[in-house]
């Protein structure tokens, strides 16, 4: 029954017994809609906000960080196995890559002068925070190792630093996988199982490439093998990733950069263990290809993620599927 009678008690501010209900007195009746074949979105706009990260900075950081970390490890290994020139090239390269990556990281900030705020806290929930501390631990050692090697001073400390950097290097080379996977960007997040291996492989290949490029043939054997190993891991990881992600992997499958990355790495690795053993020029070329390949891979992954974030279907379809699955399971019980 309607409550429109005049009552003097009703204070204007009292909430009524009920709220207005939409269209309740008309003739029509709302039919439950048949589930839509495709999916709806709000004027085709992305559900997620587009990452503000700039490709040169962040994709560049992914590449350089990986390169630095892997180089330090390779350098340490070379040092311990008596390959001084391979070790030196690794240390120097690591330091340069480190410099570049830190620059990229800071350059991408909205407020670069506030970079130090990264050190306000330590948050395991934030790969970037963890990464910052990894950099903090790794950076000085890598720097010290390179400096000692080049200057020839404090050899002991230098060696210790090289080993330290070599041990922390892998963390730097792989945490970046967590960095991008720990987002709502579908193509990144869903790939978190393979991404660390993809990055590790890519970094290893790049380090190998650099070794081939910088070190004399007689010392470059580990670099050549690293290139092969890295490339292999990278390819396997990439293939598994694309298979597991299914439709979500579309942006990756479409990515020319990723294809180029694989091709370059494969070519570089092969050339490395064949002609690269004998010809310095070939080794240089192979090394360059591997570096380029690794860079392509990182930029490719970055782009693919962006693409998946900007198209609502990559966000909505998997979630719909997930809901349908959950509903089906509930019904089974």
């Amino acid at each position: 029954m309607s409550q429109t009678d005049v009552r003097m008690d009703g204070s204007p501010r009292l909430r009524g017994a009920r709220e207005a209900t939409p269209g309740s007195a008309g003739r029509r009746r709302e039919r439950l809609m048949v589930p839509r074949a495709d999916f709806d979105s709000y004027y085709g706009r992305p559900v997620l906000n587009e990452p503000t990260w700039r490709a040169p900075d962040i994709a560049g950081y992914l590449f350089l960080g990986g390169l630095a970390g892997a180089c330090s490890t390779l350098a340490a290994a070379a040092e311990l196995t008596g390959r001084p020139r391979l070790a030196r090239s690794g240390k120097v390269a690591a330091l340069c890559a480190l410099g570049g990556s830190v620059y990229a990281l800071i350059h991408d900030l909205g407020r670069p002068e506030r970079f130090v705020n990264m050190l306000r806290v330590f948050k395991v929930t934030s790969p970037m925070s963890v990464g910052t501390w990894i950099l903090t631990a790794y950076g000085p050692q890598a720097g010290c190792a390179a400096a000692a090697d080049v200057s020839g001073r404090l050899p002991r400390l230098g060696r210790a630093a090289a080993v330290g950097a070599g041990l922390t290097g892998p963390a730097l080379a792989t945490y970046t996988a967590a960095l991008i996977c720990d987002t709502a960007v579908p193509a990144w997040h869903e790939a978190y199982r393979e991404m660390p291996f993809l990055f590790a492989g890519s970094a290893t290949a790049a380090a190998g490439g650099l070794g081939m490029l910088a070190a004399p043939l007689e010392e470059a054997a580990p670099a050549r093998r690293a290139a092969v190993l890295g490339t292999a891991v990278e390819c396997v990881a990439a293939t598994r990733m694309e298979r597991r992600l299914g439709p979500l992997a579309e942006p990756m499958r479409r990515s020319r950069l990723l294809r180029a990355g694989e091709a370059l790495c494969l070519a570089g690795a092969l050339a490395g263990i064949t002609v690269g053993r004998r010809s310095r020029i070939a080794a240089v070329a192979a090394g360059a290809a591997l570096l380029a390949g690794s860079a392509c891979t990182r930029f490719g992954i970055f782009r693919a993620g962006m693409e998946s974030a900007n198209d609502p279907k990559y966000t909505i379809r998997p979630q719909r599927k997930r809901l349908a699955k959950a509903r089906a399971e509930r019904e089974l019980e």
């Binding site: 309607s2 429109t4 009678d5 003097m8 207005a20 309740s24 008309g26």
Partner: protein, 1074 residues
């Protein structure tokens, strides 16, 4: 432990993950709400629409830091719409110019000018123009006026400011005083006034919650008055049915139960058909109708209805295009209306009559009315009820389909809901706005609703009534304290020119001698005393002769033509933007270009202030800046937070807003402007012997000023509006006398300052009061919130029902009592019957609820006061793609036309060339903007919400004309062409009527070239064709063509318009036939 380094806090404190207290910065810890830090909270009222939402203005160190809703308000309950929420930006925006500017004749740009100099120059120009254009008489009749000066604006200003504008300009002999009320709701005053006695909404917003059925028609309630709409939602929550009848599916429809699409301009046919349905099936509230309406009154033998004359009523003169309403009168009675055209019977009533009626010569106050014959069985063939049945017989559901394009099943649902929810236990309410008023027969739209609500017994009862939603903060106030040419304060008619007219003749002719209006002599004399004080004495007719006289219409549109023909040379724009907001904006600008001088007072540089350098005519080459000799003054105005005063909201409620801060730079209130302008003019004229200066020099103009800006005291002005006698402030209009012993500036506001207390400033928390909240502000008349509420009780004084009781007769105490203030003499028993010779309110019986009416009845049939017919009749709009299916008479025969090179009319219906303009166009508001945009298009937060002019079209029309969503379209009429972005939407359905499909085009009217949100003004397209009662323009229904692409630039634009005219064969006669 509290470390500076968050990491240490994290490691040592309770927030190990570093996501809470540990990472809080010092700044965050120190955050304080600026509302809590404010030095003062100033009580104010929103300056936009007329809902009158209360605002709290927070001031810190002399600056306004925040403005938000005041939860104490029983009306708004602390809520604000986007515009209200943007008032902080509106009032504190840096874009707001605060320097006085001057543009010399022919100059290419502004130059800054000292404010005092500007005031002095303006005063000089007013004096000079007045001297040059003064006329003592016209056609041998005294007029004592100037047509050389006009003013426009007032609805955005305070009541006190309107009062000073009207007082000073009238004393200067200016009659062309107008404001937004003319172009928005003037037809409301006629429609509601003639039907019930008062020209204001019959109810108030909070009462919507008691309605069982709310019909919103001719209004986009949710969009134009969002905060008021909360009361519709309240009603819906309580079980009411919400119906929205509108050409478009709007944000109002989205929340309604029922949306009925209707062809713009066909509402009379729709309402007429409901009336027919109610009469046919005897669904009317019999006891109410018999007792409280004029249904039983018997009309004269010689009355002929539109039914008999194919759309005309008896008394029409083909030459003058005017009606003589004598044949519309009751049998054996002459009756004068409470509103509308009250002077038309002057000759007859004062006594210049055909021989044989000598007994009334000289008009010595004989009771002219007599008592009309009644047949309470309602069977007499000439009784109003029978006439009504005949008149509306042809308004059938089939006609609704043919005329309105409303499918039968929808129409029947509306009839069912409306009738099922009316009667003793239930009440239905109509809500309308300018969708009804802005038509060439707008007054009749409102008359139709009035008739229907009277038949259903919904007037004067809770949850019933007719809610007129008005669109400016004080547009009701600027009608009550009118800056309107045809009214004096309190709806006293402005005198027309007559041969040797005396005050007595005027009062005798323009006021009935029964009902409250019989006391008009007291109101009028008190007003004259308020204006001319000591100088106003009985022996000089209380200076009645000082009032300038009207000769015909002096509406804002007549003023435009007067400007074009050089009669009007000076123009004051006071917070109105006709270059965007009035019909045929090109004519508005060309009119201003013909002026000698123009004064614009506004918050910022609106289109009406800058047309001479960047107006559309400059672009098309029709005007050259160097050739424009108009001197232009721009004076920055103070906004509502910078002055004190009262707004009257849409329900006649006066609310006081207090000054929060001083205006910056040269910004001043209009109270300041008017007062000091008057002071300077009086100083300049001091000592003049010229009789034309006497009204100015003898004018009471001594208001106390405050502060270093010498701001006049608005409270002192309010005190004068309220009035006083030798004992002090008056407490009600009942105390007014016609012997010169009382002073009162506006009789209906008498009581707002009773006992020297500013009742408009009362702010007792709504939560501490009942839903009527009588102690929040003050409503005219006499703080009654629901008008004619005597009708909420049976004739015997007991409530119609327990559910809907409001006021009733307490027999023991023999007094009227109830929740609201009774709109009736408190002690008048229901059984009271007037003696035959009684006059005034004593002449009304204890069962006559409509106390302003001469017969105390609600008028189903208007025997007088409505100049285009006693009953609403469907006429097509001036420019219509449809031929009138109901009558041979296509258009309103009495409509007012202004043929002019720039104001051509279009062929309609079946006329050759009509197909050149095949689509119906309607204009409307958006929530995000305000009227002509002066208060919203420069406000960034509002501009971004609706950044551009657009047009709404149906998918069908888009397909027919190749319009692409998001692209541009050009809309063309015989006046002008505009461009707009295309919005293809199902919300503006194409209609099926009379075997054809009619497409409609929707155009928001806010946009113009200046500001952030820009676009062509929809009013460029509209013609000046007016409702003859109210002189309101028809902008809610036109016809036009639309085509894809942007409009041409430069001279090609007028050429395009001319090409269309040629194709349609438009000439100076087109559309002007009766």
């Amino acid at each position: 432990m509290d470390f500076a380094w968050p990491l240490l806090r994290q490691l040592t404190g309770g927030d190990r993950s570093g996501r809470g207290s540990a990472v809080k910065s010092a700044r965050t810890a120190g955050l304080r709400a600026r509302t809590a830090e404010a030095d003062r909270v100033v009580k104010s009222v929103c300056p936009y629409c007329a809902v009158g939402c209360a605002q709290n203005v927070y001031v810190r160190e002399g600056k306004v830091v925040q403005i938000e809703g005041d939860p104490d308000s029983p009306i708004s309950r602390g809520r604000l719409c986007p515009k209200g929420a943007a008032t902080l930006q509106l009032t504190t925006a840096s874009e707001r110019g605060d320097r006085a500017l001057y543009r010399p004749p022919g100059a290419a740009d502004w130059q800054e000018i000292d404010l005092a100099t500007a005031m002095d120059m303006i005063a000089d120009r007013i004096i000079a123009t007045r001297r040059d254009t003064w006329e003592w008489d016209r056609d041998g009749m005294r007029v004592a006026r100037t047509l050389g000066i006009a003013s426009l604006g007032g609805a955005t200003l305070d009541n006190e400011e309107n009062y000073l504008i009207k007082k000073l300009l009238t004393a200067l002999g200016v009659v062309q005083i107008e404001n937004q009320a003319r172009v928005c709701h003037s037809s409301t005053v006629v429609g509601l006034g003639t039907s019930f006695g008062r020209g204001g909404a019959t109810t108030f917003l909070q009462d919507l919650q008691h309605s069982d059925c709310v019909v919103i028609q001719g209004s986009n309630f949710a969009e134009a008055h969002p905060v008021g709409f909360q009361w519709v939602m309240e009603a819906k929550a309580r079980g009411a049915v919400i119906i929205h009848v509108d050409p478009r599916f709007t944000r109002t429809s989205a929340l309604a139960d029922l949306h009925v699409p209707i062809r713009a301009g066909s509402d009379v046919a729709f309402l007429g058909a409901i009336i027919n349905h109610v009469l046919d099936n005897d669904l009317y509230f019999h006891d109410y109708v018999v007792a409280y309406t004029n249904a039983a009154d018997i009309l004269r033998q010689d009355y002929r209805d539109a039914e008999d004359l194919d759309g005309l009523f008896s008394g029409f003169n083909q030459e003058s295009r005017l009606y003589d309403d004598e044949t519309w009168q009751y049998e054996g009675a002459q009756i004068a209306p409470a509103s509308g055209a009250r002077d038309v019977d002057y000759a007859r009533r004062v006594g210049h009559l055909p021989p044989g009626r000598v007994e009334v010569l000289g008009g010595t106050g004989l009771p002219l009315e007599g008592t009309p014959e009644r047949d309470e069985t309602l069977r007499h063939p000439r009784c109003v009820m029978q006439v009504l049945r005949r008149h509306f017989a042809r308004y059938t559901p089939e006609m609704v389909e043919r005329v309105c394009g409303v499918p039968r099943h929808l129409f029947e649902q509306v009839c069912r809901h409306l009738t099922e929810n009316s009667g003793p236990d239930k009440t239905a309410e109509f809500v309308y706005a300018v969708g009804w008023t802005q038509h060439s027969d707008g007054s009749q739209f409102i008359r139709a609703a009035s008739i229907l609500q009277l038949l259903l017994g919904n007037i004067g009862r809770p949850g019933g009534g007719i809610q007129a939603l008005r669109g400016h903060a004080s547009i009701q106030g600027s009608s009550d304290v009118p800056t309107l040419f045809n009214l004096l304060p309190g709806y006293i008619p402005m005198p027309h020119a007559h041969e040797n007219e005396r005050l007595r003749d005027f009062l005798h002719a323009d006021a009935p001698n029964k009902g409250c209006w019989a006391h008009m002599p007291a109101y009028m004399v008190s007003l004259l005393k308020a204006w001319w004080g000591e100088s106003a004495r009985a022996d000089n007719d209380y200076r009645f002769g000082y009032l300038p006289r009207l000769t015909g219409s002096h509406s804002t549109y007549d003023t435009v033509l007067a400007q074009l023909d050089g009669t009007c040379k000076g123009y004051l724009l006071l917070g109105e933007n006709p270059a965007v907001g009035s019909a045929n904006t090109k004519m508005q600008r060309l009119g201003m270009a013909a002026l000698d001088w123009l004064v614009v007072r506004d918050l910022n540089l609106i289109e009406s202030a800058t047309w001479w350098k960047d107006g559309p005519e400059i672009e098309t080459g029709e005007l050259r800046t160097a050739d424009i000799a108009t001197e232009v003054f721009f004076l920055p105005a103070a906004c509502h937070t910078e002055k004190s005063g009262s707004f009257t909201n849409t329900n006649r409620l006066l609310q006081w807003h207090h000054q929060a801060v001083e205006p910056a730079g040269d910004a001043r209130s209009d109270l300041w402007f008017m007062y000091h302008l008057g002071r300077i003019i009086r100083e300049k004229l001091a000592g003049s012997r010229d009789p034309m200066d006497a009204p100015v020099l003898e004018l009471t103009w001594d208001y106390p000023v405050e502060g270093e800006l010498a701001e006049p005291s608005s409270e002192a002005v309010l005190a004068e509006i309220n009035g006083w006698d030798e004992h002090g402030p008056l407490s009600g209009a009942g105390e007014l006398k016609d012997d010169g012993s009382t002073v009162c500036g506006c009789w209906i506001y008498c009581g707002v300052y009773a006992d020297g207390v500013n009742r408009a400033a009362r702010r007792r928390q709504g939560s501490e009061q009942d839903w009527i909240a009588a102690e929040w502000g003050w409503a005219w008349p006499a703080n009654r919130r629901l008008l004619y509420n005597r009708a909420s009780a049976r004739p015997d004084g007991s409530p119609w029902s327990e559910r809907k009781k409001l006021v009733w007769w307490d027999a023991d105490a023999s007094v009227w009592t109830g929740y609201d203030v009774p709109d009736f003499e408190a002690g008048k028993s229901p059984s009271y019957r007037p003696p035959p010779d009684a006059t005034g309110t004593a002449a009304l019986s204890g069962t006559d609820p409509f106390i302003m009416q001469a017969d105390g009845k609600g008028w189903l049939f208007a025997p007088s006061g409505v100049v285009d017919g006693p009953l609403p009749t469907h006429y097509e709009p001036q420019d219509s793609p449809v031929a009138n299916p109901l009558y041979g008479q296509q258009r309103n025969p009495a409509r007012k036309l202004y043929p002019h090179e720039h104001n051509r009319y279009q062929p309609s219906g079946d006329e050759p060339g009509a197909s050149v303009y095949p689509y119906a166009v309607t204009t409307y508001r958006l929530t995000e903007h305000f009227t002509a945009g002066g208060m919203s298009r420069r406000t960034p937060y509002l501009a971004e919400l609706q950044p551009e002019m657009f047009c709404e079209v149906s998918p069908a029309l888009a397909a027919e004309r190749g319009l692409v969503h998001g692209d541009w379209a050009t809309i063309i009429t015989a006046r002008n062409a505009i461009e707009a972005r295309v919005m293809v939407t199902d919300r503006i359905p194409s209609l099926r009527l009379d075997g054809r499909v009619l497409h409609q085009i929707g155009l928001p009217f806010h946009f113009g070239p200046n500001g952030l949100a820009t676009g062509d003004a929809a009013n460029e397209l509209a013609a000046i064709s007016l409702d003859p009662n109210s002189h309101i323009q028809e902008v809610k229904a036109l016809s036009a063509d639309i085509r894809p692409g942007r409009r041409p630039r430069g001279p090609a634009l007028p050429e395009l318009v001319r090409a269309y005219r040629r194709r349609a064969g438009v000439d100076e006669r087109t559309g002007t036939e009766v």
